[in-house]
Symmetry: C2
Subunit: 233 residues, 2 copies
DNA sequence: CCTCTTGTTTCATTAAATGAAATGTGGTTC
DNA sequence: GAACCACATTTCATTTAATGAAACAAGAGG
């Protein structure tokens, strides 16, 4: 999940994956022109890659000639869920946490300059803050989760040291004026950083005091499944 | 979704995608040795591909050195779901159908010698027959859905002509001794083949008469969302 | 009918992928 | 603990496959 170079990628496979990465929830349908502009690659090069990507079902060509992700991704995602045992542990913790605090709880990892939602509670489907599993948000868009992910995966992120020392981050109205959230880092038992668990709710209901309390509850529940909010044992 | 060649693929991108295709629900974790044996590619070649696949999050390297699908697939799957409007239409039809008949209804497409479940009803979660969205089964394993998919995507499949002319297939105890199911083809309004809708239940409850009736109900509901069980208008 | 935009094919040039062999690493056996 | 084995990883001269500029096709719109 190390972010790849940012300017001109080389190597056919890497270029193919770069093309996939251009499809986002904001722009899920792209045509050759767009892909060329966004990637800086030659149209002929892209066309070749698209052909095989489509043949294998990772993209599909729409009637109007544009491209969008294909069903092969569904297949791979299902295997990922099945395999990733820590996703399953996280899911358990999330259920306990959202039961205990009555707010939306979700877990994000960093992947390629974005945060991917790996799990969320499916109880508190608040229409004001509803995020699907697999949904992605650019890290640059900010928010508690993004800042924490940056602090733990990017040595020269803003407030790097401060966030790390506190091992949490509270944001108010950063991405949505009415929301507040607290994010805590999640570490594997052996100290490797996994991602961030975020609790979100209406800002009016949640003062800093409450959010801090929630983060402590989260830490307790994570500990129950062998996960930790601190790198060192 | 055209199945790629069957013997030795060339081209780096295609080789990378081949590697991904080796991960299945039956074998979700593979090591270099396995990938080499299964693909026939040189270990050095594979290792290079794995490195970039891991860097972009499509695979992840486990502590013991083996590989499994990574979170980037979740991201792509989420976009696919959002985009694929026909999946949404199918979902609508599935709800209506399973409401009407009280049995498990699911929709499969062919992808690379396997059938992928794109949608299923989430009402009749019968423990005897429960398939997740994204789940895959090798086409060679048989079953009503597999036979129908083969008949419509593989010109030299067994009983090709017969199945096509009937536009349905009933199976009894083929994959599970106690189950019976009927599969019907699904076509886009313009006549392009999409996949197969399958109704499954306990064999004891479902005689051929009933299954045929179900398939007619399915055809009606599909028609309501602009889909068809026959290629020609 | 002409023009602009986007997609597709071609082909000589060049760079990137290849894979056999050598080396590294961890685990198992005696 | 030495010798062995299985598997992972790196190296590097060779060769193959990717590249992209340009030419061509296909619409869309005026």
């Amino acid at each position: 999940m190390t972010p790849p170079r940012d300017l001109p990628p080389t190597g056919v496979l890497e270029r193919g994956l770069l093309l996939l990465s251009l499809f986002t929830q904001q722009t899920p349908v792209l045509q050759l022109k767009d892909l060329s502009a966004a990637s800086g690659l030659d149209k002929a090069t892209i066309l070749r890659a698209l052909k095989t990507l489509v043949a294998w079902g990772y993209l599909e060509k729409r009637p109007d000639g544009s491209y969008s992700p294909g069903p092969a991704n569904l297949r791979m995602a299902a295997i990922y869920r099945q395999t990733s045992n820590f996703v399953r542990r996280i899911e358990g913790a999330i259920v306990s946490i959202s039961d205990a605090i009555g707010q939306t709880t979700s877990f994000f990892v960093r992947s390629n300059g974005e945060r991917v939602c790996l799990a969320r509670d499916n109880v508190h489907r608040d229409f004001r803050y509803f995020i699907e599993v697999g949904a992605t948000v650019p890290l640059a868009d900010g928010g508690a989760a993004a800042r924490l992910l940056l602090a733990y995966t990017d040595p020269d992120s803003p407030a790097h040291a401060k966030i790390r020392s506190e091992a949490r981050y509270i944001s108010r109205g950063e991405r949505n004026r009415h929301l507040a959230s607290v994010a805590v880092p999640v570490f594997e038992g052996d100290g490797t950083f996994l991602g961030t668990l975020t609790i979100t709710g209406m800002a009016a209901d949640l003062d800093d005091e409450t959010l801090l309390r929630f983060s402590r509850i989260a830490a307790d529940e994570l500990a129950r499944v062998g996960l930790s909010v601190a790198a060192s044992r």
